[in-house]
């Protein structure tokens, strides 16, 4: 037997379904996956804290993502994961910081760029957290490299931000 839940008694829009195999789907359960629409050239390298620009939504099930920011629609625990791939990095850069910044706290992954750079000067860095967010709290991703000039790019390939409400 399949079960379908509607939004209200007078609204026949499906908000959740459970099929005969017991698989439940909630069409508006907060979940998003976004990627950059284009590269961010020369956005960090001298300590500038660059907010990663995510111009393409792969999906955004409850329309919670806009202007590079996820806004929690309800209080809960949110799984958030980000990967940022940077380009034009060399041994002059000694410190890098990748943050998932939420209203209640900032989650930091600090790294030495020189230790994870390909021969082409490209490195990918990722961070995954289970974040405590209140309704209306926000979350963004920032990348920051120090100790040289404003020459580091954030490239589209290998850069993404994803998340969903756990409960």
């Amino acid at each position: 037997m399949a079960i379908t839940l509607h939004g209200t008694l007078t609204d026949n829009t499906d908000v959740a379904t459970k099929d005969s195999n017991g698989i439940m789907v909630n069409a508006t359960q907060p979940a998003f996956s976004v990627v950059p629409a284009s590269a961010q050239d020369n956005c960090t390298g001298n300590g500038t804290n660059a907010t990663v620009v995510f111009g393409t939504e792969i999906f955004d099930k409850n329309a919670d993502f806009a202007s590079n920011t996820f806004t929690a629609p309800v209080t809960g625990s949110y799984f958030l994961s980000a990967s940022v791939t940077i380009h034009d990095v060399d041994a002059n850069f000694t410190t890098g910081r990748l943050h998932i910044v939420t209203s209640n706290r900032a989650y930091l992954y600090e790294f030495d760029p020189a230790e994870n750079i390909s021969g082409a000067g490209v490195g990918s860095y990722s961070i995954t957290v289970l974040a405590d967010m209140d309704a209306a709290d926000t979350s963004t991703v920032t990348m920051q490299l120090f100790d040289s000039s404003l020459t580091v790019d954030i490239q589209t390939s290998g850069t993404f931000f994803q998340g969903h409400l756990v409960g």
């Binding site: 209080t75 209203s103 709290d137 120090f146």
Partner: protein
């Protein structure tokens, strides 16, 4: 109508977020005044017990002051201090 924080709401919000007024402004823009007001009240209710406990324990520091203390890079500490000075 824009939400105006009470002094109590501002104190509790500053206990958990760096920019209390910015939080309220974003909530109001995203959800509208009525829903944002409810969200603000819920957030304050959720964190005020911890705020009161930390204040009662003495030597209280809000979120921004704690972040300034914990920052180990001078350039970033200066940026946080500038935010505090602008309050």
């Amino acid at each position: 109508m824009a939400i105006t924080l009470t002094s109590r709401q501002q104190l509790v919000l500053r206990h958990v977020v760096i920019n209390a007024e910015g939080w309220v402004q974003h909530a109001e823009t995203k959800f509208g005044t009525e829903i944002a007001t409810t969200m603000l009240e819920q957030k304050v209710a959720r964190h005020e017990t911890d705020y009161d406990a930390k204040v009662a324990a003495g030597s209280y520091k809000d979120r921004l002051d704690k972040d300034i203390d914990e920052e180990n890079m001078d350039s970033e500490k200066a940026k946080l201090q500038a935010i505090k000075d602008a309050r």
